[in-house]
Symmetry: D2
Subunit: 303 residues, 4 copies
C-alpha cells in the first residue's frame, strides 16, 4: 500500500501502450499532477502539446486483460488560480439554423479559488458580473490502454475511458475500467475546475491539477464499459456518437451490472430501471459523446 | 378566477383543433380527471381508445397564435390504487446485439398508495421483493393544438407539447406552451404515478389521475418550445429524434430565454450554460424523444 | 376504368381525412394538376397557402384499412416554363463548423423546357453558365390519409407517404401505400422538374405539374411503408429521423417483402440483400428524412 | 516508375505509424497480395490475426503531412475460388422491434469465379438456388497513417481512410488520401469479391486478393477526407456515426472540392449539388459509417 510521488516530465496525446512511467502495486496510491487541455502547467507555462496531454501511463502490477482496474479518485486540487473556457456554444448543440448567429470563438479566463471552492470570470461583462460558481474539480480525460494495441487520440473516448468529460467524476468517486493490456496502463489529465452537463462550450474551466488516486485490481472481473460509484449512485458510462448510441452502451452495461452483480433477471432489471434510472449527458461535444446511466444506492440497497 | 369542475365524457387520441369541451377565462382553474394510457379510468374500466386518450381540449379565452399559455399544475393525484408498466427495456435503449436476450413483452401491475406516496410491485418476483418507490405523479402527455390545423397522434410530441413523458412535470411546476390556435386548446392525459428518466420500458406506472390546473395567457410573448419553472429550475423541453436533435431544440430555446428574457448576449449565455447547464433525458422511447435543458434558479438569481 | 378530369379549386396543407374532392373506382385514372410548393400555379399566380398544398384527396371506392393502394404515375408534365430553388446547402447537410460560411438564403429561378427535357438557370453566374440538367419531373409530396384520423403537415412524411421528395418517383413508376382510412384518400402535389439526391438545398426545381395517375386497390394486402416498382427495381421507402432510422424502416419493409411476397427465409433474404441491396437518400432536409431500399429486378428474377 | 513485387510476411490489425515494409518512389507501382478479413490467405490458411489484417505499410518518398496521396487501383483479382459472408442482417439496419426475429449468426461460403466474374452460393438453400451475382472486387479497408501518431483498429475508419467498405472502389478508380505522416504509410487489405450497399450483413464476400496499385504524391495539395475519381464520377467519402454525420463530412468535402478546385462560389456549388448530387451508403455496419457524395463528370464537364 505504498504512496508514490510522481512528477511527470513528458506527456502523451494518445492513450495507448506507451512505456510506463512507474510500476505500482495493487492497492498503491499515487500523488501526481496533470497539466491542462492545452498543456499549460501550474505556472501557466506550456510544457506539453495541445489536446489533453496525459500524465502516465502507470503500470499496475497484476492487472491483465479481462480484469477490472478500480481507481479511487482521492483528491483533485487545482494547482493554479485560474482556468479558461471557450466563450460560445458548440455548433452541434444548437439548431443548425441558429449556428450562424453564434459569436466567434474566443478564450475566456476564470479565477479559481480552490480554498473557497469558487470560480468566477476574471473580467465579466455586465450581464455576468454577479456570477459565482462552486468549484467541483474533476478529470476530463483518463483511462487505460485500449484493446488491440491501439493508440487513440485523447480527443475521444471508448470502452477504455478517455475524454469523457463527465463532471460527476469528482473526489471520492471510484471509477472502474476494463483492462485490455498488461498492467492496465492508466493515463490521466485534462482537469476541470467546474463544468456544466455536456461540456457544451467545448471546455470546462480548464486547469492544472494535483491529483491523488489509489488503484485496485479486481482479478477475473470483466466489465464492458467504465463504471463508477459515488456516495449516492452506481453508474455506467457509454461513449459513442450519437447520444442514442452512448445511452445504449451505458444502459446495456447497467443491465449487465444488475443481472451479473445483483442477480436480477433481465425482467427484474428492466422493471427497476424503468422506474428508477437516471441519465446524465456527460459530454455532447467530443468525437464520442458520453452518457451516464445511474441507479441510486438507496434503490439498490432494497435488493 | 373561476374554478371549473369538469368530468370528461369523451376523449381524443390526437391533439388538434377539436371542439372545446369547456371555455375558460385567463386565470381560471380547472378540476378534472384523466384516464390512463390505455383508456382505463379510476375504476379500471375501459372508457376510451388506446394510446393516451386526452381530456379536453379547454379553450382559453384571449389566447391567440403568438401568445404563450402558462399552465400551473396545481395537483395530480392518482384516482385508483394501482398502475401498470411494461416489464422489459425498450429495444432501442440497449445495444442492438443485446436485443435478442430481452424477455418477451408483458404487463405488470403495481400498487399505488397515494397517501403514503408509495409505489410497489403487486406480485414482485424474489429479486424485487424489497423494492419501494416514492410516488411522484405527473402528466405524461399534454399540450396545446399544434400549428397548421394539424391533428397529431398522442404517441408523439412537438413544439406544442404532447407525449413528452417528462417526470419533472410534477405538482407545483408551471409549464409554458406556444399558442398556435385560437383559445390554445389545452389537452391533458397519460398520468404516471412514478417514472425513471427516459421512460425506458415504454411506460411509467400508468394510472388515472385527478388533476387541478390554472391557466394564464401571456399576451404577445412568443416562445418556440415548451418551457417550465419549478422551485429550483427554469427549463426548456425539446422534442425530436434523435436525442441529439431534441437536445439542440432545448438548448436553442434556453439560449433564446437567456438572451431575450434575461438580456444576456449570446456569449454571456454561452459562458453561463457551458459551466452551469443541466440536461435530463425525459423520454427516449416515443416517436419523438424529449430532452430538457435546465438552469438552476440559484444561478439565474445572480444575473 | 373511367378517366376523370379534375381541376382543383382548393388545396390542403395537411394530409388527413379531408372531404374528398372526387370518388373514383378501383382501376380508374385521373387527369389533374398540382401547384408548386409555395402554392404558385401554372400561371405563376398564388392560389394556395405555402407549404406543399395538396390536390385532392381522391376517395378510391373499395379501399379500406389493411388494404394497399397502388398508384401508377402515368405522366407528370411541367405546366409552366420556369421553376425555383433555394441557393444554399441546408445547414444540416454540412459540418456544424462549416455552417457559418454558407451564403444567405435566396430564391433562384430556372428555365424548364418540358419538350426538350432541359433545366437551366435563368440568370446563371459565371461559374454555372454552362450547366444544363435533364428534366426528370416527379411529385415531391403525395400519399394517403394517415392512421388515427391524424392530419399531418405536408412538410413531413410517414408510413402514409407525404413529403418524401424522392427523385426516383418519375413517370412509369407504381407506388404502393398502406391504406389507413376508408377510400384511402389520396393527396398529391409539390412537383419538381428535377432534383439531386437528398434535396440538400431544401428544394428541387419547384414547379406546377399536369399529372395523370391510375389507382388500383390490392384487397387484403397489408404493407408497412410505401413501396414502389420501376422498370429496373423494386424498392421500399422509410421516413424518419435520423437517416439511420429511415434506413431501418426501409430495410425492414424490404425484408418483409422478400419473405412474404417472395417466400424467402429471413436468412435467404439477408444473404440476397447483403450482396445486392442498393440505397438512395431521397431527402435529408425535411422533418422526416427518407431512405429508399432497392433491389434490382434482374436479381429478383433469379428467385 | 518502378514496379515493386512485394509479398507480405506479417500484417497489422491497426492502421498507424508502423515500420514500413517497403519504401517506394512517387509514381511507382506495387504488386502485392492481401488476406481476407479473418486473416485467411489464398490457400484458405490462417496467416494473420482476425479483423482486417493489413498488408504494408508502404512508405512513399516525398509524401509529407499536408500533401495528398493518390492511389490508383490498377487491379484487384481474387486469389482463391471462394469467399464467405455472414448470413443475417446486422441488428442495427432493421427496426429494433424486428431484431428478435432475425436468425442466429452463421458463416456462409460462396464460390468465386474470377474469370467469369461470377459469385454464387456454394450450397444455396432452395430460395436462392438461382442467384448469380457479378463479381466486382474491391478493397474494404485501406488508407494512410492517421494524425497524431495514432494506431487505430482496422474495424473503423476516419479522415485517413480505413474500413470504409465502399463497393465503388473497384479497379480503375483513383483514391486520394490526406497525408498525416512522413511517407504517408499506405496500408491495404480486407478484399471483397462483391458487396451490396451498406455492408448490411457485416461482410461482403470476403476474399484474398492480388492487388496492383500506383501511387502519386500531390505536393502541397491538402484535402480533408478521402476523395475518388471513377470513369463517371468524382466523389468524397465521409466516415462517422451516425449516417447524418458521415453525410455531412462527405458533403462538406465536396463543397470544398467544388469551391477550391473548380472555383465555384459557395452558392454556385450549392445550386449544382442541390440538383445534381448523388449519395451512396458505403457501410452502415462498422463503428464509423461511410457515406459517399458524388457528382457526375458529365455535370462537372459543363463548368
Amino acid at each position: 500500500m505504498a504512496v508514490h510521488h510522481f512528477q511527470p516530465k513528458h506527456y502523451h496525446n494518445t492513450i495507448g501502450a506507451h512505456e510506463p512511467v512507474l510500476k505500482i502495486a495493487d492497492g498503491d496510491s499515487v500523488v501526481t499532477s496533470t497539466v491542462d487541455a492545452r498543456g499549460w502547467d501550474y505556472r501557466g507555462e506550456s510544457v506539453a502539446g495541445r489536446g489533453n496531454p496525459m500524465t502516465g501511463p502507470f503500470y499496475v502490477e497484476g492487472a491483465q486483460p479481462g480484469d477490472t482496474l478500480a481507481v479511487r479518485l482521492e483528491s483533485m486540487v487545482p494547482s493554479r488560480d485560474w482556468g479558461w473556457t471557450f466563450n460560445v456554444l458548440a455548433p452541434n448543440v444548437v439548431d443548425p439554423l441558429a449556428v450562424a448567429a453564434l459569436p466567434p470563438l474566443d478564450i475566456v479566463r476564470w479565477s479559481v479559488d480552490a480554498e473557497q471552492a469558487l470560480v468566477v470570470l476574471e473580467k465579466p461583462t455586465s450581464g455576468l458580473a454577479g456570477l459565482k460558481l462552486e468549484a467541483r474539480p474533476f478529470l476530463g480525460c483518463f483511462g487505460v490502454a485500449p484493446p488491440k494495441d491501439q493508440a487513440i487520440s485523447t480527443a475521444t473516448s471508448g470502452e477504455y475511458g478517455g475524454n469523457m468529460d463527465y463532471k460527476g467524476l469528482v473526489a471520492g468517486v471510484t471509477v472502474y475500467f476494463p483492462v485490455f493490456a498488461e498492467g492496465a496502463l492508466f493515463h490521466l489529465g485534462d482537469g476541470h475546475a467546474v463544468q456544466g452537463c455536456g461540456e457544451i462550450v467545448g471546455t470546462g474551466v480548464e486547469i492544472s491539477l494535483d491529483v491523488r488516486f489509489t488503484v485496485q485490481v479486481l482479478k477475473g472481473k470483466t466489465i464492458g464499459w467504465p463504471r463508477g460509484e459515488s456516495d449516492t449512485h452506481w453508474f455506467c458510462i457509454g461513449n459513442a456518437r450519437p447520444l442514442d448510441q452512448a445511452l445504449q452502451h451505458a444502459t446495456t452495461e447497467m443491465l449487465a451490472m444488475l443481472t451479473k452483480d445483483y442477480g436480477l433477471t433481465a425482467s427484474e432489471a428492466s422493471l427497476l430501471l424503468g422506474q428508477a434510472v437516471e441519465y446524465e449527458v456527460a459530454n455532447v461535444f467530443n468525437p464520442a459523446y458520453s452518457v451516464v446511466c445511474k441507479v441510486p444506492k438507496a434503490v439498490l440497497s432494497m435488493l
